[in-house]
Subunit: 339 residues, 4 copies
């Protein structure tokens, strides 16, 4: 950590700061410049995370040197993490995986119908919400345990892997029983209790980026999970909040190469929530692959007009088939492949 002092800082200020740094176990290095004196705190920045150096007398500004995340950083682990499922499916390798299915599980038949259609088009993972975080208390909140059972049954019948969202720590055991990947939604990205809990689960976790989370905060949320022992984490870019109102969110594809440079974890792009408009899903899915994504998540509904939620952003099975066809070509152009 680098501490820049005000021009008027005194010797006593310097001694006070140095003393505090040494107390925390860091070495201290002082250099007096023509305009400012600078104190270098040599050692692990993280030991100082809670020290409010900015308000110490004489301090003008504080600059951190090390990133606050560790286990998830590429500095900690150079090679890409590849998540491997018992049936041979991998996420983070050369193959790009596509997770597809309805926003919400609505019924046994609906889910199975969509599952079979997305499987035919090449998806290997079925998505579907049993617990739905909805902004209004007056709208459909999901089928709950019944929905989870429908997912299990669809998995059994189709051989697809299953991903579903966990909203409440009290549901963890139940969700873990029925799913292959546990999804943490954008609104829970900083629900630190929930993160710690899934950090102790035995299933991989898909962590969605919060609506206005910086990339650093996103990686710190992943660090919460990893710090509890579960390092099978997929990071999901799903759109951030900006001033633009023509799309529900602004899908931030810059995050893909930025994350690739900072972390070894696989990156998934969700153009359905990321844009909120079905007509933008195909071009943005292709762009996501070109930017380097390892996986996609796509909402598909048998009849979007009748969807219980997010109908605006759902593809029909026919459009999903087209998406897969077009994405295969782009994947190939960036030396990857989709089944």
């Amino acid at each position: 950590m680098i501490i820049v002092l005000k021009p008027e800082a005194t010797q006593a200020d310097i001694a006070h700061i140095s003393g505090k740094l040494k107390e925390k176990g860091l070495a201290v290095h002082i250099s007096k410049g023509s305009e400012r004196t600078i104190i270098g705190a040599i050692g692990d920045d993280r030991l100082l995370a809670e020290l409010p150096l900015a308000i110490f007398p004489g301090v003008e500004s504080v600059h951190k040197i090390l990133q606050p995340f560790k286990l998830v950083s590429r500095e900690f682990k150079k090679e890409n993490t590849i998540i491997r499922f018992p049936n041979g499916v991998t996420i983070g390798g050369e193959e790009i995986q596509v997770m597809a299915g309805p926003c919400a599980v609505e019924s046994d038949e609906q889910l199975l119908f969509v599952a079979e259609r997305v499987k035919e088009s090449g998806a290997k993972i079925l998505r579907g919400g049993a617990f739905k975080p909805r902004t209004s208390p007056y709208t459909f909140q999901g089928l709950g345990e019944t929905g989870l059972k429908h997912l299990s049954k669809a998995r059994e019948k189709t051989g697809l892997l299953v991903i579903t969202e966990l909203m409440d720590p009290r549901d963890l055991d139940m969700v873990e029983e029925h799913t292959d990947i546990i999804q943490i939604g954008a609104r829970n990205m900083q629900n630190f209790r929930l993160l710690s809990d899934v950090g102790r689960a035995r299933k991989p976790v898909l962590l969605k980026r919060g609506l206005s989370a910086t990339i650093k905060e996103f990686l710190m949320a992943a660090e919460y999970i990893a710090s509890q022992g579960n390092q099978d984490i997929i990071l999901c870019e799903r759109g951030i909040r900006t001033f633009e109102t023509m799309t529900r969110n602004t899908l931030d594809l810059n995050a893909v190469p930025v994350l690739k440079s900072l972390t070894h974890l696989p990156i998934l792009v969700d153009p359905s929530h990321g844009t909120g408009r079905w007509d933008l899903v195909i071009p943005m899915a292709k762009a996501g692959i070109a930017a380097g994504a390892d996986a996609l998540m796509i909402e598909v509904h048998n009849n979007p007009e009748e969807a219980f939620s997010d109908g605006e952003e759902s593809l029909t099975p026919e459009n999903f088939e087209r998406l897969m066809r077009e994405c295969r070509k782009v994947a190939s152009a960036v030396d990857r492949f989709i089944a």
Copy 2:
């Protein structure tokens, strides 16, 4: 709801949309203009919340007429809600309340020392976190139940009311036992399960605005609580996320008069988290009162340099005394008062 059709929309499109609206119980009103045909759906917009009309064939755009929140709206209840505590303290009346105390409860002695000092300066409510949502898993997470007990004891000794944060639904009973007001933090503003749970609690709730929550989303989160029966809700503006980096957040005082026009609930301003800099707390506290706030929440620490968290934004007891003195004058200039 108003549905604007594309120039090329057909009679069949109009019939299809009208049919669906009638099916949902709304009356339909069609007007053909020179450039566009417009369909008015007459009745309660909220019945259409889940209908993705934007993707119906022939639809160009959809405009909602009614706000999606109801119980918390000023349309539903004209007069201001005043929350009354057994000891006579009120929030939302002519008196402006100040909640003050350390970010985190650190020890019995620390809490009591600060409690006595803020009481002397005129605060009637003591704040202090026993469970701390921290962005890093490697920093202090709060004293938990021990912290709650310290709060209870400080309440007993000083007669101050107590407010503390609830992060996990599994802690609700324990927190409710030790606190007078349950705080829901900004990161949990859309933790819908937690909102529903405190909606069934018997204590008032302070709901903090999410870091990038719109005012509509903020009121919908309050509606979640209210819809479960608990209508003693205080709305807390605590800074939003913008592009500016000189402050931790951008305290949005516009929200105060905007909320006052839309809801009957009392509004609190938190300039400590709202700015993240102790040197901005006093001017922004005064500005908050001038803008119409009903209450303030201020972080005060016996020794900010040694604070376990948020030392940068904490006032010393001396500066808090100054804040109270200066705020009293501004309160009086807007025909309110601080004890």
Copy 3:
């Protein structure tokens, strides 16, 4: 336009609003619903652009039906605009054009060296700033007219087309003499005088999106140019401002398909300014093409370490060669091509 009335609006309010609308030449349509009365103003919304209906007595909210832009809209002109240069180069057709060159023209030799290298790699248009908008008055402001002459000379020697920025209306004649495309920078997107002036120029205009311009404002800026007669406009997405600090801007690729749906004008993506980091330029250029861009603009410098400006985001000629090679494959995957 749709005007929604408050529940308490009176007959007199309705008559007052209706009268004003009729005065402006619109037909009026009133429908009384169970919760609200709604007034439809039938005719051209644009006639009402200056009428502050929101503050008329009894008005709750106002909803515009038509987009405020006209000449640049796809509704006005269905087929894509293709800009054709005398030497046969086109922008907006099947071929994707790449504009490349240094941020600033630094010298005759530097410009010619870079021009020849980017030409070898397949670029057909040379970029280079002679007038530089710099955030500090103490940094290099461009070579001015000398820089323009270097551009003319490089054009002559290489046969490349040339694009350069116009900052001041007083320089228009001089810039127009030396360039094939006039660039309007992001900071001047709402410099309405400058827009009107280039709207009367005889050369195509590249209009950069402002740092926090909505897509609607971006199209209105293009409308300013078009309304003066010059409809050869290229829209440039170059990154917007968000809360993220790991990139200089957030390149908003969603804008590409959104703009394609709203306007007939060609769209260019600038991943150099859009990200501010050279290591992100290649993945984001590929993503831009996959999203549907008609052209790219790429900063290339013979020695980025020594660049007078924007060295951080400039590619070396070697990396530009790689960009072209990789982009050709993605272009082909979306049924387009790069020379």
Copy 4:
């Protein structure tokens, strides 16, 4: 400047960077820590403004120590700047000045009517636009020179000082002849040519903050003006762009105390543009004063319903009278006064 190296940086990298720094005239200080080597460049950061150190081999990150603005900084000049007009009016002293008037000059009579009313209420400066930056080319663009003459005449008749906007450098002489303060609008905050031009003018300049300008950029724009010799600059906070849609902009009052800590220039708050809603103007004007503003700018129109522009945010003369009455009380509560 502090340059942090990657763990894998070599001796050659260090020598290369050090050489470049010394070439620029800075002293170099190297400290090797346990995790990173750090190079301190001792001397004036501004000499390095154009050097892209971030892309030098071995560099991980670069931290600037000094702010890039100088003449406008409080470090350069400790005491507050007070702007003094020939008639004795001051801006930046104990008295809070209020500038009021219509958004646009519409006619001789209208302007004079409003001027007399705002003068009666205590305003000493009349605002009114003769050149209007409008987002649509199809709306009223201002009366131009005729408008300027109306302003001159109103000044003569009422004794009020006058402020009006300059949009085009070609109009500078004409505007300067008719006004006491030259206004630079938010959309021109980074029109660097215009800034340089008014930097050579003999009249004080009101500089409006750009819609998404950081505070640093805002001060750099002021530095452009100051660097040309004109240091009579008033900084105007007029709302920034955020995700919130209930207000036209988000008036950022945090900017007031932040600017006060960084610069000696006087600060004005514009709650009319800052919120875009007349019903929010009075509370936010009071909040601006409580936050420390030196001046206010308020739109007042004889008949807002008929205003040629910005009617939504204009106060009637009656409401302006109320604003002045209420603001006087708040000014007094913060030890200032309004005439």
